[in-house]
């Protein structure tokens, strides 16, 4: 690997590490204040979780409060809380009492399944359609694709989910409306997320392909004598994919946000679902654990995208 490329790689990793640290700290601070909002409530609930609601009273809660050091000064507790946050010491759920890490780990796998199948499906939808549209710009196909994209972009992803459920689950009775189990439960949530992602990325693919097709180097390849198909294979794909892969980084935002909403709609037992429930139950440790986990994965995915772009486009190594 070239020296300059290696240097850029180190820069990427360093920067993303700083971002990861920021995530842990930022989430930590906000959750700390959320926990303060619970106040004595928190000690009460921890005590309840520990000893059982029936067996405890206010004095037990006080004991727990003192034990957890909840009576010390704000700054000290904040620092301690942040320290815990960075070392992934999130404590136990206020609802179930089980360690946060364990619960998060459990649900993380499901979310990753959903997220990765959605990305893959969206790529399989967006790339062929986008490339085809660019081959004949302003044709009926191109215009139809644009209409469909804009329409899908104009509704929240859960509406797409609702409509799919109404069609496939209720009317056609082909697929289950919600839940988790065999492969068939994965289809509708994945399709919902993938359609939302593809609606945006298909236009990115189209624009990128058009840029490549109209570029000086593509035209030069044609005039050198290479036929269109071979020019596209040799000079088209690699160059059009660079902005598309970079765009994936932005799409991760949609994926993370989408996972939260879609898991709730389809009762998919993932980390987003846990997060939403935890917010309701004011289960701050779970909220913190889930948010930090999602944030860190987001940063990690972005780092991977940065590296992928670096490998695809040799120019990126030179000036970043």
């Amino acid at each position: 690997m070239k020296k300059q490329t290696l240097k850029t790689l180190c820069n990427i990793l360093a920067w993303r590490s700083i971002q990861a640290l920021f995530v842990a700290l930022f989430v930590g601070v906000l959750c700390f204040f959320a926990a303060q909002g619970l106040g004595g409530n928190m000690a009460y609930r921890i005590a309840g979780g520990r000893y059982g609601i029936d067996l405890m009273d206010a004095s037990t809660a006080d004991l727990v409060a003192r034990e957890l050091g909840l009576d010390r000064s704000l700054w000290v507790r904040l620092i301690e809380w942040l320290g815990d946050s960075i070392t992934f010491n999130f404590g136990n759920s206020l609802v179930s009492g089980t360690p946060v890490i364990k619960e998060i780990w459990h649900t993380l796998g499901h979310s990753l399944t959903l997220a990765s199948s959605s990305i893959v499906l969206s790529i399989f939808i967006a790339v062929p359609l986008g490339v085809l549209a660019a081959k004949a710009p302003n044709s009926w196909f191109d215009k139809l694709l644009l209409l469909v994209s804009v329409s899908l972009k104009s509704v929240p992803n859960f509406v797409i989910g609702i409509l799919l459920v109404m069609l496939f689950a209720v009317q056609l009775k082909l697929l289950p409306a919600a839940g988790h189990g065999g492969f068939q439960y994965l289809i509708l949530p994945t399709l919902t997320l993938a359609l939302g992602l593809a609606a945006v990325s298909v236009q990115v693919v189209r624009e990128s392909t058009l840029t490549v097709r109209n570029s000086t180097y593509f035209l030069f390849s044609r005039i050198k004598g290479l036929p269109d198909a071979q020019s596209f294979t040799r000079h088209g794909w690699r160059n059009l994919l660079v902005p598309v892969v970079a765009f994936l980084g932005i799409q991760f935002i949609t994926i993370v946000e989408g996972v939260v909403i879609i898991e709730t709609l389809f009762a998919w037992p993932g980390i987003g679902h846990s997060l939403v429930h935890a917010i309701f139950a004011r289960d701050v440790p779970i909220v913190q654990g889930a948010a930090v986990a999602m944030g860190l994965i987001f940063v990690a995915m972005n780092a991977l995208v940065d590296i992928a772009v670096l490998l695809l486009d040799p120019r990126k190594g030179e000036h970043s």
């Binding site: 995530v23 104009s154 609702i162 993370v256 309701f280 004011r282 987001f298």
Partner: protein, 267 residues
Amino acid sequence: MNIRVFYSSLSFKQKFGVVLFTIPCLFTFLAPILVSGSPHDQSLMNALQAPSAQHWFGTDHLGRDMWLRLSSALQVSLGIALISTLIATALGTFLGVLSAQYPKTADKLLNLTANLFLAVPGLLFILLFATIAPGQLWPLFLGVALIASIEMYRVVRAQSMIIANKDAIFASKLLGFNAWYLLRRHYFPELRPIILRLAAFTIATTVLSVASLGFINVGVKPPRAELGLMMIELMPYYYEAPWVILQPIVALFILVLGLNLMIGKKK
């Protein structure tokens, strides 16, 4: 800056978008004037009625007038969206141009902060704020305004940096013009179309975000009318009264589609 000239410079799709967007806007403000009553008045006897002379858009599962509920929900969505976008535009533009003018000082700090905040997807922001103050509207507002400001800042900054290197800027500086002149004559005219497009985009995104949050019951609580909240409330009744759940869906669709069409294509 002639409005008529501007309007005629829009493409057909964009004009259509403006029309589409105006419809729900007008409805939002005129609807309560045309019909009396409150969106919270329940009447279980009249639940899930089809559109009639008494209730122009029918009633929901609790007998509440849909015409009024819809306009109330749109008020919430549009209100948050427009105010956040306004704040974001003002703040983002100011800081973006500032960054471009002082690349060695202000930019370093602002850009770093913005990039750090990019580490957290917007929804997570809002959810975290909502954990601190559940059931209240301000976390929604704060989160949405923050994300929108950062996005506007980045776009304006990027474009301003390009403008800052143009010969026209150097020529004007040599001729002795001050920073205010540069802003007036060079930056703002060049930035205006981009800012407008991003503002429309921000309004659209915000409206969708608010609906999503309403859907998971964050930030807005019943009996407040909100599009996403209405959708999830009405879902169980879609079979017996499809026109009810379709209303918030269609209203949202027209609103956001109009905005998306207004944005148009990059030249």
